[in-house]
């Protein structure tokens, strides 16, 4: 049995197991203790709390609250905001342009910063070789992805395409060398770090984990524009937010009819499942609801070359055309597809696959209309 075939079989079993109780988008994981569920609810309150300049917002920011972007259909879902990232790729080396305010280029400023510098957004780095647009992904099931052992991710890697299937996934690594898995370029090793970093990069809210503000194009913030003492939120708030995010359950896929079941078979047959691995298993955890769980992930958490048409920035080891396989958890909640939202439908997203995804794309395009429709029906059930 191929890796995709084995994973699909496991996936069917996992889906059958979760079929007992329907988990809706935004719901907590099944099996949390009362205390964990309480932390989930309290964490959601922090996640949805609106920051103002008086409570730490900015002076640069993309949103006033986590829930402003992750709002649809519930907290932890998607949103219509698009953010901007920038890096420079020269001679095969990626420069995240920290010295010029990269890689996240905030799109809003507080009134005080606007008065001081006359800017409405962070200046785009002059040395950037690419601009990336980034949609808001759903973050359901991320606590499960967080616990997939590195060894599992490495087991799917085939950087030299030794099996000659045209797919050569490889890991990205954080700046400190650890294997990454979060973010569209898989730079970030853990969910906690992603969440901790997001407070300051997205909202300009400092915390004990990141006690310094973003610079403005690499320059320090002018005196007097951010009077709130750092850190602007405390460790308890950070911990609660992290618990809310990691306890967000993957929504139960909608019940498949005959067409959807055929679509699931097509998904594997044409090679989608080679990268969008249907099922992953978590490792050990103090949280029973997260420990040794099979779940429908539809990702291998690896970088794949998606071809020149999708290429944008580099990040870590990821070259401009390389992206982490997007988990398809909660896909039915999305209204825009691909990392930059350029695709309005799943069909368009599949047809935009290039590079290592070109084979599956071509097989998709060659399908009979009824099979294509079946595949889309399956995807829209996730």
């Amino acid at each position: 049995m191929t890796r995709a075939g084995a994973a699909t079989a496991l996936g069917l079993a996992a889906l059958a197991l979760t079929g007992c109780k329907v988990v809706k988008p935004g719901d907590p994981l099944l099996g949390l203790t009362r205390a964990e569920r309480d932390r989930f609810e309290r964490g959601r309150a922090v996640f949805d709390s609106v920051f103002t300049p008086e409570t730490g917002l900015g002076p640069l920011f993309n949103s006033t609250t986590c829930g402003e972007c992750h709002e649809d259909p519930k907290s932890g879902g998607t949103g219509d905001e698009i953010e901007v990232h920038a890096t420079a790729f020269r001679g095969g080396v990626c420069d995240p342009l920290v010295q010029e305010g990269g890689p996240v280029i905030q799109q809003h400023t507080t009134p005080a910063l606007k008065r001081a510098l006359g800017i409405d957004e962070e200046p785009f780095p002059p040395s950037a070789t690419a601009r990336a647009m980034r949609t808001t992904p759903v973050i359901f099931g991320r606590g499960l992805l967080d616990l997939v052992p590195d060894s599992v991710i490495l087991s799917y890697a085939d950087p030299d395409d030794k099996n000659h299937d045209g797919i050569s996934g490889r890991v990205n690594r954080n700046v400190d060398g650890r294997i990454g898995r979060f973010g569209r370029k898989a730079l970030v090793p853990t969910l906690r770090e992603f969440n901790d970093g997001a407070f300051v990069t997205e909202q300009g809210v400092t915390s004990p984990a990141v006690p310094t503000e973003e610079t403005i194009g690499g320059k320090p913030i002018p005196a007097g524009v951010d009077p709130v003492a750092d850190p602007e939120i405390n460790q308890a708030q950070l911990d609660l937010t992290n618990d809310f995010v990691r306890f967000l359950a993957p929504p139960t896929p909608e019940r498949l009819g005959g067409e959807g079941r055929r679509g699931r078979e097509v998904f594997s047959r044409i090679g989608c499942a080679a990268c969008h691995i249907p099922t992953l298993r978590t490792g050990d955890s103090p949280v029973a609801a997260l420990r040794f769980k099979d779940f429908a992930a539809y990702t291998d958490l690896l970088l794949h070359d998606m071809g020149p048409d999708l290429a944008d920035i580099c990040l870590g080891l990821a070259t401009p055309p390389e992206f982490r396989t997007e988990p398809l958890i909660g896909l039915r909640s999305l209204k825009k597809f691909l990392h930059d939202g350029r695709a309005a439908t799943p069909e368009q997203a599949i047809e935009a696959h290039g590079g290592e995804g070109a084979g599956a794309r071509d097989r998709f395009k060659a399908l009979a209309p009824a099979e294509r429709q079946a595949l889309i029906a399956f995807l829209k059930s996730l």
Partner: protein
């Protein structure tokens, strides 16, 4: 409270003293440990700039590497002298202390990817 890029001490701070590094209270003798990617090396001044990260919040940390300090390499077991032993893109772990408002490296170790 605002800090310039050079003095930003955020990022991935390995070791139990991370909390010490993240507060502005003076701790002149306490060691700081940083693990990150070398951004730039200035051999003439013995200056090393590291990129550290918490999520997508990346920071630059600048430090001085004293002349004669050996840079250890974990894979080869070899060592070279001074900042010439590292180059942009290398992943390093640096133990340093604060002196006169600047960071000064006490130990620089070049790391290889693991696993």
């Amino acid at each position: 409270m605002k800090h310039g890029v050079v003095l930003a001490v955020t990022g991935v701070l390995a070791g139990s003293l991370a909390g010490v590094a993240q507060h502005a209270a003076p701790q002149p003798a306490a060691p700081y440990t940083y693990q990150g990617t070398v951004h730039s090396v200035q051999a003439q001044t013995g200056t090393l700039e590291l990129i550290t990260a918490v999520g997508h919040a990346l920071r630059l940390v600048q430090m001085r590497v004293p002349i004669g300090l050996r840079v250890a390499g974990t894979a080869t077991g070899g060592a070279s002298v001074g900042v010439r032993g590292v180059k942009p893109g290398d992943v390093v772990r640096v133990v340093c202390h604060r002196a006169g408002g600047s960071l000064v490296a006490d130990k620089v170790e070049k790391l290889e990817p693991t696993p």
